[in-house]
Amino acid sequence: MGTKSSVFDMIGPVMIGPSSSHTAGVVRIARACIKILGGIPDEAVITFYNSFARTYEGHGSDLAILGGLLDYKTDDANIKKSFELAKEKGLKYTFKSIGNASVYHPNTIKLNLTKGDKKTEVVGESLGGGIINIAEVDGFHANFSAQSHTLIIKAQDISGAIAFISSVIAQEKANIATMSVSRKGKNDMACHVIEMDSGIEPLTIQYLRSLTWVKELIYIPDIDL
């Protein structure tokens, strides 16, 4: 049996209404995205899919996604004012709705973000109760909840990479909860996604980044922090 519910699942969480899947979950998806991008974007194209495509406006998910992109947390009262705040902070945005992407989860959002010359594309799912899954990052399958500490390493597809990365993390005594690799055929790139129970030191991150076969490393600590 899984972890027992907390008293604060019964009296809580403290959140911005109206619903945990349309606000809290959506804010979390956006917060994961800005960690992946490395900051608040200059421009965002946001596509709501399936059930979200119809309901996002009525439930205020458009405000929630912008609030998250502006780095507000799930209980921040500023979320309600996200349209004005986005203007103030120079975040340009476009919303789209696509109704029939049946391969996606009913509550799926795709974000195409630009910051300077950096671009990223993330697909996130709001699973209910504020729980999320980041399904894709830049075309790689990712599948992480962003609830623990997550490492995303894009690297050349060399043999022994998985064992090497896990041994480095093991030296930190960080417990690996899940680890997955996905490949995008053409340019022999692999994307490793590692979820850990605790955080790792900046020095370890620097070391992994310095490896010649590592192209990009993204570290996402608990997104609610």
Binding site: I11, V14, G17, S19, R54, H59, S97, I98, A101
Partner: protein, 302 residues
């Protein structure tokens, strides 16, 4: 080992054996199961109650219009109306439950207790109870712990989610938490507290979840007011030792059984009940986004 909140009968005998107050066993559970310190539990409860009171006050003070327009400053109108149907206290109770829930519908900050849809019930009832009986904050926080214990059991035996058990699971459970907490705060015995839960569940059984246009507005907001009223009537009945006859655990079983057999169209899908009425469908057409792109097959993500 702490008590794991599997049944009301088990909770009662555990507390009797260990000579614990109901709220103490809830703290013990949170400490042993979730590794929290007692101090952090009281701090978080205090924060939750503060957010609840703020939600009540915000809803009675600030502009509360939802994006669909279906919610439009109702709580303030009720609060300020010159005619009190029953008593000024009752008028305040109802308007406070509406107020906190309107804040939720209008993207303000609330405590989901147990869910966002039911976020007006504990604030409305406890705020008003504290005011009328001059209770200390500590007493109210203890009451919240009793409410949390009640919800933990309902979650295990039935459900707290409208999508699983209908609205009885959301506003019904919140009303049961409120009734139990109120009887506790007024010095009721454990039997009276659980009897209040049983009576409340009996009053809320069968309630479907049928939100218009799928938004947590109609009927959710008025149901927070009616659930607050039912919690008060149940508490009044239970304090006088009028028995629910059917024991509380069996009442929860009935709620689970009804939820399991409830048709999907009555579980948050917005396909039945009020959502399916002519007006409900018109509203749905107006507020839901209609210009949705439908991709040709070859452009669909693989």
């Amino acid at each position: 080992m702490s008590y794991l909140f599997e049944s009301f009968a088990g909770w009662q005998s555990y507390c009797q054996e260990k000579d614990l107050n109901l709220y103490e066993s809830v703290i013990e559970y949170e400490v042993t199961q979730r590794g929290k310190t007692e101090e952090s539990i009281w701090n978080n409860l205090d924060k939750a109650y503060t957010v609840m009171k703020e939600a009540v006050e915000t809803g009675l003070k600030e502009e509360m219009t939802s994006r669909s327009g279906m919610i439009n400053n109702g709580a303030k109108k009720v609060y300020n109306h010159p005619v009190s149907v029953l008593s000024p206290e009752f008028q305040r109770l109802i308007s406070r439950a509406l107020a906190a829930k309107e804040v939720n519908s209008c993207m303000g900050r609330v405590v989901a207790a147990p869910t966002a849809g039911a976020s007006g019930i504990l604030p409305g009832t406890l705020y008003t109870l504290q005011e009328i009986h001059n209770l200390s904050d500590k007493k109210i926080l203890e009451g919240l712990l009793v409410g949390a214990g009640i919800a933990l059991i309902i979650e295990q035996k039935a459900s707290l989610a409208g999508a699983v058990g209908g609205c009885q699971a959301e506003t019904g459970s919140a009303a049961a938490m409120a009734a139990g907490a109120m009887v506790y705060c007024l010095g009721g015995t454990v039997s009276q507290i659980f009897n209040a839960v049983a009576i409340t569940i009996q009053c809320m059984l069968g309630l479907i979840c049928d939100p218009v246009a799928g938004l947590v507005e109609i009927p959710c907001v008025v149901r927070n007011a009616s659930a607050a009223a039912i919690a008060n009537s149940s508490a009044q009945i239970a304090l006088a030792d009028v028995s629910a006859v059917i024991p509380v655990d069996e009442c929860i079983d009935a709620m689970g059984e009804i939820g399991a057999n409830m048709e999907t169209k009555y579980k948050e899908t917005a396909l039945g009940g009020l959502a399916a009425t002519i007006t409900g469908q018109e509203i749905s057409k107006r507020v839901l986004i209609q210009d949705i792109e439908i991709l040709p097959d070859e452009d669909l993500p693989e």
